[in-house]
Structures are given as C-alpha cells and as structure tokens.
Amino acid sequence: MSMAEPVVSIENLSIALPIGGDRAHAVEDVSFKVMPGEIVCVVGESGSGKSVAASTLMGLLPHGLKIASGKVIFAGEDLAHASEARLRALRGREVSMIFQEPLSALNPLIRVGDQITELLNAHGAYPGKAGRARILELFGYVGLPEPERLIEAYPFQMSGGQRQRVVIAMALALEPKLILADEPTTALDVTTQAQVLDLLRRIRDERGTAILFVTHDFGVVADIADRVLVMERGRLVEAGTVEDVLQRPQHPYTKKLIAAVPHLDPAALPPPSEEVVLSVEKVGKTFRSGGGWFRKARHVKAVDGANFTVKRGETLGIIGESGSGKSTLGRSILRLIEPDAGRILFAGRDLTSIPRGEFRSERQHLQMVFQDPLSSLNPRKRVMTILMDGPLAHGISRAEAERRAAELIRLVGLEPAALERFPHEFSGGQRQRIGIARALMLEPAVIVADEPVSALDVSVQAQVLELFNDLQRRLRLAMVFITHDLRVAAQLCHSIAVMQRGVIVEYGPTAEIFADPQHAYTRQLFAAVPGRAFDLSRQQHSA
C-alpha cells in the first residue's frame, strides 16, 4: 500500500481569513496525504481550522474564506485552481461528505429517497428504475431496516441514527474515492455512535474508500483512525499513526489534549456525609400531546417511578441517552417541570406538596446549571446583574449580593472585572463558570446540572470538571449531575443512576457499577464508549 498513489495530497495549503479576524489564516501551511483504504482523523478544538481544511477538498469553503496558497491534488488535478463546473462534477461522485447533524443535513420537506435520487440525477447515474434499486441496495448496505418503507419516509420520521445512515448511503451512492466525515457521530448517542463507527470501518475495509474524519473526540480517534493529524489554531502540529500519536504524543498541545480526556475508571472523591439532603421517591412525569376533539391524545411516560437519594457532599450522576428522560427528571426536582407522581423530599419536606405560589421561596435552596451557557445567560445584561437578580428577588440586600458576586466570581476562577462585562465577551468555558456562579449565588443546598460540559472543548471541559470537584470539596453540596458521558461521570460522581426510556434501570455507587454493571443496558452503554482500548493502554502507562 505504501507504493500506492495517495487519493488526495494537500501541499502547503493556507486559507486566508477575512481581515479583522483573530488571526490571518484559518489554515496555515498545512500538508498531508490520504491513502486509499485509510481513515485519517483530523483532531482539534473548535476554531482549530480542522473543518475548514477538510472543506477545501469539496471546494466548499465557507463564505469569505479563500485559498491563499498551496495545492489540493486529487487524482493528479489541483482542486485549488479548478473551475466551479469541474468541482461540481467531482462533488458527490469522486468526493462526498457526511455532516455532523444528520437532521439538518437532510432537507426536511423532501422524502429521503428523492434526496438521493437527486444526487444520482445530478451526475446522470442510475437513470430511471435503476436509481430506486441502487438506493434500496445502499439502504440495505448501511443497515437501514425496511428499505422499501424508509425510501418513502421524510427525515423527521426517522431516528438520529437512521438519518445518519441515510446520509452515509447518500455519500456512498456513486462509490467515491474519498469521503469527508465532519464530526459525523458527535450528535449521536453513544450506542448509535458505536454502530456508525462500525459502518465506516466496514466501508473502508470492503470498498477501499478513503475517509477523512474530522473530530474533537480522542475516544473516537482511538477506535477508528489509521492515522491522526492534530491541528491547533490553523497549523498542523502533529501527524502520525494512531499508536504513535495517542501513545507517544510529541507536541505539547497533543499531550495537553490527550491528558484532558477524562479517564473511564472512577476517580477517588472525598466521601459524602451521612446527611440525606434530597430524596426522590417514585417520581413520575407523563407528557400528553396531540389530542383534540377528534383525536386521541398520546401519552409518553418521560419519567416513571424514579427513586434515589443525594447526601450532603455527594454527586449523583444521572446517565442516559437522548430521550431517556434524564433532563425531565432533573427539572422535576426543581419543579421547573411539574412531576405528576411521587414525592421529592428536601430537608425532610415534600416539595411536591407545596403550593406553586409558596414554592418560589424554596427555589433559593435548589438551583440549576444549564447545558448551553450562552443561551441560558441573558445577552443584554451584565454579569453582575445576572448574578444579583436571584439574591435581590429573594430579599437579600444589594450590598450583601455584591459581596457574594465578587466572592463567587473569584471562586469559579474569573477576574472580578468580569462582573462588568456581557456574556458574549466570554468563551464557552468562562460562560459556564458564570452559569455556575449564578447557581451558587443563593447558597443552595442542591444543584442540578444538566449536561453542563457537553458543549465544551475537551481541554475546557477538563477545567470545568475540575471546578465542579473543587466546589464540591469546599461547599459540600448535594449535586445531581446529568450527563450522557460515562467518562465525565467517572470523574465526578459518587453514585450513578442509569436511565433508559424513563426508568432508572441501575442505581448504585459509581465504582461498583463501573466494575460490574448488572443491567444489560448499562453493559451496552459501557461497550459503546469510544476508545476503551486506549483507556486500557493509558492505565498501563500511568501504572
């Protein structure tokens, strides 16, 4: 294979950013090759230029970006200087693409079969009846159930995993030499992610298709890559085989990124006290939708009979995939969603029995940290106001609230000057720190954090996780931490509750569940965590 011609070879590529950007080049002097039948992962954090570098292969640079210098050689032809018509002929036929968000990547108003037919027609391939046969064959190959039925379906009628299989089927339709996959599994649940990674490996092995795989997730890299390219601020800082880069990283940035990946073995945490702060008993919530004079309402049991307790100083992880009801359960505790069954005991009192009007004063003891730190902070208010709104509403004096704000902003690792700024002036990690400070302003006893680190880059995620652990040591809160990521849970949680379709299927101390998961679903989740082999080797290294 070493003698084979590369599918694509990028030589000294630089892509200019518009004037006034935070740097001159989105991509600077980058060179790499992709060989046939090889999966090359491009890794980096947001803004590293990894997606931009990949999009040059399709001639689909985002508006305002231009190739400043360098070559993109594909089958002996320099695509950097190819005409639009030539690029169009290549797109979909020789080079195709799989996108991050399978829902938005498909047109919501067109049947998926017709969307693939459109690709075939654009290149004059598989005319007439042959087109349908080809699509059915592809649907079968990518493992879609009932191809005959799904070919007529609209994207919204499919699950996320099915949609991504449709996108992959589309990418394969004309047997391209190269597939660009831009974070193709980031929006998927772990079990679905594992299946899609399997499928991509199969495509490489059976069809010899080269895949350029853009990702931020080192677990995924460990599972799928043959070679790895690491990008930092537009430059290629390290390149090598997956073993070399993951086991023997050379560049400090690579080392930092790898060190930031949370370990899958549970961390040693200070033990909680014996005092039970929060006790959830048989809590349930059923959503009713649709229903009118002529239609029967549909009922969805989002949460069914949930039981758990949280002690002072304890972090409980609620683990589950999308739609498992974990967020509904978290919000029910704060009565942001009104639970319709069971009891929630806080300091011995049943919160569900308190009338809505009186519950407002209880809110100060129970606070929430949200997933998206940007949309959960009012963009038109200064951080100081955001922090003080809660205490002022609960009758705390302005002077006292200001004192607390100044204290907490330092506690979460920001400068006091941050209080005078607006949310958009901060990075994602800093905004999440503000979100945490906001939750702490009322000195709550219970914090519910809903996926607070999933929107963050891995190195920032590591810092915020460290902050959570640090706060827990100092403040001894009862914390409910909702996440889909077992690695995150391992680093933070004393105990975990695994949810599937509204039901807690397994609940116990983190160390026990990680050592010996009992429920079939929990085992399935563990098996799907990307990069398990990589973890084993990391343990050997650190041992």
Binding site: M58, L60, H63, R88, A89, L90, R91, G92, R93, S96, M97, F99, E101, S104, A105, L106, N107, P108, L109, I110, Q115, E118, L119, A122, H123, A153, Y154, F156, Q157, V167, M170, G290, G292, W293, F294, R295, R298
Partner: protein
C-alpha cells in the same frame, strides 16, 4: 382519513367561532350611541318621541337586549341575515350585490402583490446567494421600503392625480364606465382598466411585505445545513436555490398570504371610498353612518366568515407545503 377528521373538526370549530363572533358583534354595535330609529327620525326632521317609539317597536328595538340577541342568533342559524329597513331589501341581497366587486378587487390585488412580491423577493435573495449584482438587491429593498412606508390613501390619491388627471391613461373611479352599456370583451376590458389603479394602491404595501418576507425566509434557509448538502451532491447553484431554498422558505409566505386574504374588508373600505368602487367596504361604511344594524351585522358576519375560511385554507395549504404538519399524529 386523518385529513377528513382534521377538516371536520376545523369546520365544526369554525362554525362555533362564527356564532360567537355574531353574538359579540351584536353586543358591540349596541355600545355605539344612537340607533336606527333615532337616525331615521333625525333625518326626516321629526322630533316627535312617539314617532321614534313607533319605529323602535317596528324594528324590535323595544325588546330587552338578550331577547334581541337570541332572536338574531336564531335567524342566523336559519341562514337569514335580516332585513335592511333603511334600504327596504333583505340584507343578503345587498351583500350579494356588492360582494363580487370586492372579491374581484381583492383577488386581483392578491395575485399582483403575491406575484410581484415573491418574485422580487426571490430575485433579491438570489443575487445575494450568488454574490453577483448586489446592487439589484439594494434597489429592490429600497423600493420595497418606500412602498412599505407610503400611506395607502396618499398613494391612491397621487395615482389618481398622475394617471387619471394628468396623463388621462386610466379611469379614476367606479367599476365600469357610466352609461356605456358595454357587452362581452369590451365590458371586461373596461372593468380591467378600472381595476388597475385600485389594485395597485391596494397591492403595493402587501407587495413590499412579501418582498421582505421572501427574502428574509430564503436567506435564513440558505444558512441551513441541507443547502450545503445540496452543493455537496454536485447540484448547480440554481438547482439548490429552487429545490432546497425556495420551497423551504414558502411557509412564512403562506402564513402571510392567509393574513392578507383575511383583510378583505379592512383595506377595502378606504380604497373603495377613494376609487368609488361599488364593493362591500363602501356598503359597510354607509351602513355604519346610517346605524343600519341589520346590514352592518350582516357585513361583519360575512367578512368574519371570510377571515375564518381563509385561515382554514391557510392551514390546509400548510399541510401541502410541509410534510411535518401533514404527518403529525400519523406515523410514529
């Protein structure tokens, strides 16, 4: 099957809403001072309270309000809109005489504003999409802004002054040439000429809204990922624009088209007055001045029914444009 039950449910609800509106109209109209008896008596110069009393008895105005309301609702359920004492003809007859003129005006201005507006909006969005001839976008947007900001009555008057008085190209008022007694094509062409100015006056505002709406909706869709997918398939820019941008931008346009159609009476009063168009708007205006309750209520009822009917049509149109709405409650 889902569609028929949807339709049956919506029609049933619509009928209830119409009945509620009828009751509300009836009560609201009584809040205005004066009644038909006193207006008629005043006009004939009679101040004799006895005469007014007789008129009241004849019109049934001496009955308690709730009794009058029940009587009125009962009439409506039987399809009887009442009798205009003022004009001495059944209300339904008056309305049916005037309705075609208004519908003609509405239909022509709807077609003109929707066609021109969506067309210009598409053009505006496409030149941005292809990043060519951006000046065309600026020109269209400026034009739309001017049409949007100009008051309707002023525009109407200016058009009369320019095109009728100064240039003498088009007739300034009425629906047909008086006393010409034309037949066949000559009559149609005569009406068409009369239609031009009121249609334009009524269209330009809505046209500018369609321009802005279409452009904004298309530009929003352009940012979406599936547009990039379209390019990644190797489609041309034009194909992407047609199949993946415009079609997806239709929804807000349909919404607004429904709103516009619902405005039958509101916009028509002014335009029909300025251009002396013998439509339902004028009829309503006159009925209001004369306190012709039965006629006024009849016009209100017919216009509310049109609004509700067009809303229903809009909802049906949604189901054709967006499969997500069509399938709701269906699969999964």
């Amino acid at each position: 099957m889902a569609f028929t039950s949807f339709l049956a449910g919506r029609i049933f609800k619509a009928l209830l809403v119409i009945l509620a509106i009828a009751a509300l109209n009836f009560l609201l109209i009584r809040l205005a001072p004066g009644d038909p008896a006193s207006v008629m008596a005043g006009e004939s110069g009679a101040t004799d309270p006895k005469f007014v009393e007789t008129l009241r008895t004849r019109f049934g105005l001496d009955q308690p309000l709730w009794k009058q309301l029940l009587l009125y609702l009962g009439q409506i359920v039987q399809g009887d809109l009442g009798f205009s004492y003022r004009n001495q003809v059944p209300v339904i007859q008056l309305i049916l005489e005037r309705l075609p003129a208004t519908l003609l005006l509405m239909a022509s201005s709807f077609v003109v504003s929707l066609g021109l507006g969506v067309g210009l909006g598409m053009l505006s969005a496409s030149v941005r999409f292809f990043n060519r001839k951006r000046w065309l976008d600026s020109l269209i947007m400026t034009l739309a802004l001017i049409c949007y900001a100009t008051p309707l009555f002023w525009l109407a008057l200016m058009m009369v002054i320019v095109f009728s008085v100064q240039l003498d190209w088009l007739p300034a008022f009425g629906m047909e040439s008086v006393g010409a007694n034309l037949k066949g094509w000559a009559r149609i062409s005569d009406i068409a000429q009369h239609l031009v100015l009121p249609t334009l006056a009524l269209s330009l505002f809505f046209m500018s809204v369609y321009v802005r709406l279409t452009r904004a909706a298309m530009m929003e869709v352009m940012m979406q990922d599936h547009v990039r997918t379209g390019f990644a398939k190797g489609l041309t820019g034009g194909e992407v624009l047609r199949r993946h941008v415009f079609r997806n931008a239709l929804l807000p346009i349909v919404t607004f088209a429904g709103l516009q159609l619902g405005q039958v009476a509101g916009g028509a009063v002014l335009i029909e007055t300025v251009f002396a168009w013998p439509g339902i708007g004028r009829l309503m205006f006159d009925a209001l001045l004369q306190r012709d309750y039965q006629l006024l209520l009849g016009v209100f009822l017919i216009t509310s029914a049109t609004v509700i009917a067009f809303n229903l049509l809009t909802d049906i149109a949604y189901r054709f444009v967006d499969p997500r709405i069509r399938m709701e409650g269906g699969a999964r």
